[in-house]
């Protein structure tokens, strides 16, 4: 028998596996930090799906037609499904859903800052589907190639649904832009309010992204935040133009040399204010989640008690 393999040796082999493109599965050895980082990222992702139900759920009872109501219900239901699916994928790393939710409710775990903005008019539902799900698709398509098997598979499955979300959002806005003057104003207003927060979804600039280097070495992240953000902008600007929406950035223009759009400057003060809990709806979102959890306690207790009584 071989002598005990050292931690350093294991870590070296782990890195070799990653470098040669081998996917890591739950039972494989992994550095403790890799596990921790994935738990942090994946649970944050799952929380975002669930908290993300709130701003859109806000308009389900006011959706303006039976079709729009059905589509929005289906969309928000998908997001709950994504949450469930990613929670399960995260559980493969040795943490359970109850603990993750506890971390969310106590503020220990974060969720995407975008959901701390209010949905003020119907066009916001279009803007979320188009911009927020659009940004999510860029992120998740990259994550679908990440080194952790359960996360990567979850992303592949989820991305299919995100494309439908993205289309229905764009369709809402396209429809409004062909409508009355008031509807067009609604759509432009939503565009103005959601554009910059959508760009913030990709996180801080690489220079200020503390975890980036390590995550890229482990292929948890495959592209830098700035690259993904640029990809989103390049893809979205022509879509906005096609339906007559103006992007609220006077520095935005096509650069024929780089073959990318040049654009302005994100208000990072706003970004840090929102992620540290001072966005417009942080308080509402958290109290809605904590409230649902607390009000549901007796229901979960009843289900557990019933199951206990009827074990056979």
């Amino acid at each position: 028998m071989e002598a005990t393999i050292t931690e350093a040796q294991l870590e070296k082999e782990f890195q070799q596996k990653i470098d040669s493109g081998i996917v890591i599965e739950p039972k494989d050895w992994m550095p403790e930090r890799y596990r921790k980082q994935l738990i942090r990222m994946m649970s944050q992702h799952a929380h975002s799906e669930v908290v993300g139900m709130l701003p859109e759920g806000n308009w389900i009872t006011r959706a303006p037609s039976l079709d729009r109501k059905a589509i929005l219900l289906a969309k928000v239901q998908d997001e709950a499904g994504h949450g469930l699916y990613i929670y399960s994928a995260t559980e493969t790393l040795g943490i359970d859903r109850a603990e993750m939710m506890e971390q969310l409710h106590t503020g220990k775990a974060k969720y995407s800052s975008i959901f701390n903005y209010p949905t003020q008019n119907w066009a916001d539902i279009g803007a979320i589907g188009w911009l927020v799900d659009g940004a999510a698709i860029i992120n998740q398509t990259a994550l679908a190639k990440c080194s952790y098997g359960p996360y990567s598979r979850a992303m592949i499955r989820i991305c299919k649904e995100e494309n439908f979300h993205n289309k229905q959002g764009y369709q809402i806005l396209a429809y409004l832009m062909r409508g009355t003057k008031e509807q067009q104003e609604m759509a432009q207003d939503a565009m103005n309010r959601w554009w910059w927060p959508s760009l913030m979804m990709f996180g801080p600039s690489d220079a200020n992204s503390p975890n980036s280097a390590e995550l890229m070495r482990w292929k948890v992240k495959l592209h830098s935040n700035d690259d993904l953000r640029q990809r989103f902008i390049d893809r979205t600007v022509p879509q906005a133009e096609a339906i007559g929406l103006t992007i609220p950035d006077d520095k935005l223009r096509w650069n024929p040399d780089t073959r990318h759009y040049d654009w302005g400057e994100i208000n990072w003060d706003e970004f840090y204010a929102v992620i540290s809990g001072n966005g417009p709806c942080n308080h509402e979102r958290m109290s809605a989640r904590v409230g649902a959890h607390e009000k549901g306690r007796w229901v979960r207790e009843a289900a557990a008690a019933y199951a206990q009584k009827h074990l056979n």
């Binding site: 303006p64 039976l66 079709d67 059905a70 649902a292 959890h293 009843a302 289900a303």
Partner: protein, 254 residues
């Protein structure tokens, strides 16, 4: 409208409005359910109900023949022209009220659609056939929760019993047959409400018993009126919310 069409039109509104308002109520839970799985299940139920609404209200619009669509009927009628069961407009209350309401109404729908499957009206029978599968799931889902809550903890038992007590006031309204019901039954289009009531009692009693709950005394005060569009105060608020956009922007389409 011909007289028979008029009766069928009304009959469709009763079915469609009941699905629409129940779907609306259930969808109010979205994002706030006690368990994530329940959020998914309730969104699913709401989605089924809105789908059913679309079929039947569109058909009502055709029968009327004045160019109104299902959307027009859903979004541009006032409360007195709605014919949903009073039970479905009752507020969600706690999870026990929502599940009990769902169970009582879904059981009613299940039995009604089982009969309407044989309707001489092709659209109604096709609608019933399609909806029956969905409603069967709603019965199972809410019935399981009624039992779990009734036979769960002391607290959940009390909440389930109180849900049953408060919703029971609206049971007779479900079976309050009028001339439209009679006419539809005679023509082989609609269901016999008298036998529906018997079937419904037979269906729910064992489940309520299994849940260790007690059906309230028969001589309770009963609230009625849905057949003539007489509602509780809750419906007006539902419509104010639901119809806001089409009412505020009457020239817009969405």
């Amino acid at each position: 409208m011909k007289e028979s069409n008029e009766a069928l039109f009304r009959y469709c509104l009763r079915i469609g409005d009941t699905s629409l308002i129940l779907g609306h109520r259930v969808s109010e839970w979205c994002g706030h359910a006690p368990i994530l799985e329940e959020d998914i299940a309730m969104a699913n139920i709401a989605l089924d109900l809105i789908g059913q609404t679309k079929i039947i209200l569109n058909y009502a619009g055709e029968l009327e023949g004045e160019g109104r669509t299902g959307d027009d009927l859903a979004y541009r009628r006032d409360a007195r022209d709605f014919y949903n069961l009073l039970m479905v407009e009752q507020p969600n209350g706690d999870f026990a009220v929502t599940m009990m309401r769902q169970y009582l109404v879904s059981s009613y729908m299940f039995l009604l659609y089982s009969k309407l499957r044989n309707s001489t009206d092709k659209t109604i029978s096709a609608f019933a056939e399609k909806s029956l599968k969905e409603v069967a799931y709603h019965v199972r889902y809410s019935g399981d929760w009624v039992v779990r809550l009734g036979d769960g903890t002391e607290e959940s038992h009390q909440k389930a019993q109180s849900a049953l007590d408060q919703l029971w006031f609206f049971v007779d309204d479900m079976f309050d047959a009028d001339e439209t019901d009679m006419l539809m039954f005679e023509k082989g289009i609609g269901a016999d409400i008298k036998s529906l009531r018997i079937d419904w009692n037979n269906m729910i009693e064992p489940k309520i018993k299994e849940a260790k709950l007690v059906i309230p005394e028969a001589n309770n005060f009963m609230r009625m009126g849905s057949r003539s569009g007489n509602h509780t105060e809750h419906l007006g608020y539902i419509l104010a919310e639901m119809q806001f956009l089409p009412r505020a922007y009457p020239d817009a389409t969405w």
